[in-house]
């Protein structure tokens, strides 16, 4: 087991009824890299990521996280191993402020007269520090999330994941619902996180996003791995051809 890989998936297969969603798929995520995962609709991208996050149990295959074999029965197992997944339909609370969102489920509390009070001040201060550290452009942790743009909400979700000590981020089409400017800001944040040592898998339809900030890009087609390209010496045409024609293109 090489220590260079924070995630290794070996021979993952998954069948839904008559459809072979994944067929003997391998995936390696290097420490501190941003790996793009691309492919047409129904290529198996989301299923593969759900397998890694424990919300889909594979029929066959093994997953190693930080070099150790991981039995992921549910998302909590994955979270306990430092994984976080950010979906395009967000699990943020629009009616709460940023601080409460960053700390959902692990709020700072203090007890007084047997009643559990929320330690708002500490959550505000610490979430502000987290936003600053991640260089997320949100002016105050006291802002209500409902007053924010889609991109800022994604960033709150990212901050929450990082706040939970996630070292491996899975981002499933995070820019799909965003405008160009918003998407670019989010991509900048992802590059920033990668530079801070977080390993990221970016599932996307926008190949140009991966080519702009990614290190490598992996292509799936029909539930099978077609190849992995280095972003540095690949063009948009290379990736598109691999998506459309599959591994045959590489020969």
């Amino acid at each position: 087991m090489s220590n260079e890989h924070v995630v290794e998936m070996r021979g993952i297969s998954k069948r839904f009824g008559t459809i072979q969603a994944l067929n003997n798929v391998d995936l390696e995520l290097r420490r501190g890299e941003l790996l793009g995962l691309v492919g047409d609709n129904a290529a198996g991208k989301s299923t593969l990521m759900k397998t890694l996050f424990g919300s889909v149990i594979p029929d066959a295959g093994e997953i190693f996280i930080e070099g150790q074999k991981a039995e992921l029965r549910n998302p909590r197992d994955a979270q306990a191993r430092g994984l976080a997944m950010i979906y395009q339909d967000l699990a943020v609370f629009n009616n709460l402020d940023v601080a409460a969102n960053v700390f959902t489920g692990r709020e700072y509390t203090k007890r007084f007269l047997g009643i559990t009070f929320v330690n708002k001040k500490r959550m505000e201060v610490e979430s502000q520090a987290l936003l600053d550290r991640l260089r997320i452009n949100i002016s105050s942790s006291k802002l209500l999330v409902e007053r924010m743009s889609g991109g800022q909400r994604q960033m709150v979700a990212v901050a929450r994941a990082i706040g939970f000590d996630a070292r491996i981020l899975i981002m499933d089409e995070p820019t799909a619902a965003l405008g160009v400017k918003e998407a670019n800001t989010l991509l900048e944040l992802m590059a920033e996180l990668r530079d801070q040592g977080i390993s990221i898998i970016l599932v996307t339809h926008r190949i140009s996003d991966v080519l702009a900030i990614g290190d490598r890009v992996m292509v799936l087609k029909g539930g099978e791995r077609q190849g992995v390209l280095d972003v540095g010496d690949s063009t948009l045409e290379d990736v598109e051809s691999l998506i459309v024609r599959g591994a045959a293109y590489l020969q």
Partner: protein, 338 residues
């Protein structure tokens, strides 16, 4: 630091403060309340008499106490339509515990409150454990609670209640009507609970995004049960206060409270879709409704206008609610957008 000609730092902070104040959800309804109050205060000498102002406060107390519970329920994304029936049942049980079973007033009151807690817990179980839709479910349990009330009382009233039972409704604490004091105590405690405690945060979370709450592993069921139980308790408290105000126990007591209670919460800015609402807003909502009713009386308008005006007020509140959520715009009203 040199002051710029356009705005001094001081003017700047003052402006931010004002903007901050206006950003509070309650500021709109509060402004409406103040304007309404000032107009009535100016035009009607009867309205501004201390006696009348106290009367308004006394009249809104029971509604407010129960509406605090309703606010909690609505913020969590549910409704409790059984509140008035719980109030009535608790009041009658309290009176009967004293009259028939000879319990001292404090114990009789404790018994009445216990009945409210039990009814609320039952609602909570049916909503959370059995996953019944709260609107129809509480409408049904409300009918059951009212039926139990009539069944055990056989429709008979109890008169001549002792001081201990009417104190909450008629007594005074430091010269202030006891029920007004109680209303503010309940308001402060409920405000702290909703805004400062972990339970209050959980209530706002399940009302704001139920799915995310479940996904993060929150015990939604237990919180739901807690919410309905508290609503039952506050309904019973309202019923017992009302018992004291009326001075005798008639089985119909509490009937007709549902509408003012729900409307106080809605006029006060509680979002019907859950997640957003405040005790201060509900208090303001109850006050607007109370002043409306009182104005019709002191201006010697037909009392039959009351329902029309109150109903219309609620429709206005619902419209404002829709606007705030962005579900409604002028373009939609004018038929330009669909």
């Amino acid at each position: 630091m040199t002051a710029t000609p356009t705005s001094s730092p001081r003017g700047e902070t003052a402006r931010t403060r004002i903007r901050e104040l206006l950003s509070y959800r309650e500021s709109g309804v509060f402004l409406a309340l103040v304007i309404f109050f000032v107009i009535m205060y100016t035009v009607s000498p009867i309205f501004r008499s201390p006696f009348n102002l106290t009367t308004i406060l006394r009249q809104i107390s029971v509604t407010s106490i129960m509406a605090m519970g309703q606010t909690l329920v609505i913020v969590s994304g549910s409704f409790d339509l059984s509140q008035a029936s719980i109030a009535g049942l608790a009041a009658m049980v309290t009176a009967r515990l004293w009259k028939i079973y000879g319990l001292a007033p404090p114990f009789a009151i404790a018994g009445g409150l216990g009945v409210g807690i039990l009814c609320g817990f039952l609602n909570g179980m049916l909503a959370a454990r059995f996953r019944l839709h709260p609107i129809v479910m509480t409408l049904a349990t409300g009918a059951v609670f009212l039926g139990v009330n009539f069944y055990i009382t056989r429709g008979e009233s109890i008169v001549g209640l002792p001081v201990g039972l009417v104190f909450l409704g008629q007594g005074r604490i430091f010269g202030i009507p006891a029920l007004v004091v109680l209303m503010f105590i309940v308001a402060i405690l409920m405000h702290i609970m909703l805004t400062r405690t972990l339970f209050g945060l959980r209530v706002r979370m399940i009302g704001g995004n139920l799915k995310a709450s479940q996904d993060m592993g929150m015990n939604v069921e237990r919180i739901r049960i807690g919410i309905f139980t508290l609503s039952g308790f506050l309904s019973a408290l309202g019923g017992i206060v009302l018992l004291g105000r009326v001075g005798s126990a008639v089985p119909q007591i509490g009937q007709g409270l549902l509408f003012p209670v729900v409307t106080a919460a809605i006029v006060g800015g509680t979002l019907l879709t859950g997640g957003v609402g405040s005790m201060a807003g509900t208090l303001i909502g109850a006050a607007i409704m109370g002043i409306t009713r009182n104005s019709l009386v002191v201006l010697q308008m037909s009392i039959y206008l009351q329902d029309i005006v109150q109903g219309a007020l609620v429709v206005v509140a619902l419209l404002v609610d829709q606007f705030r959520r962005g579900e409604l715009t002028w373009r939609i009203i004018l038929g330009l957008d669909r």
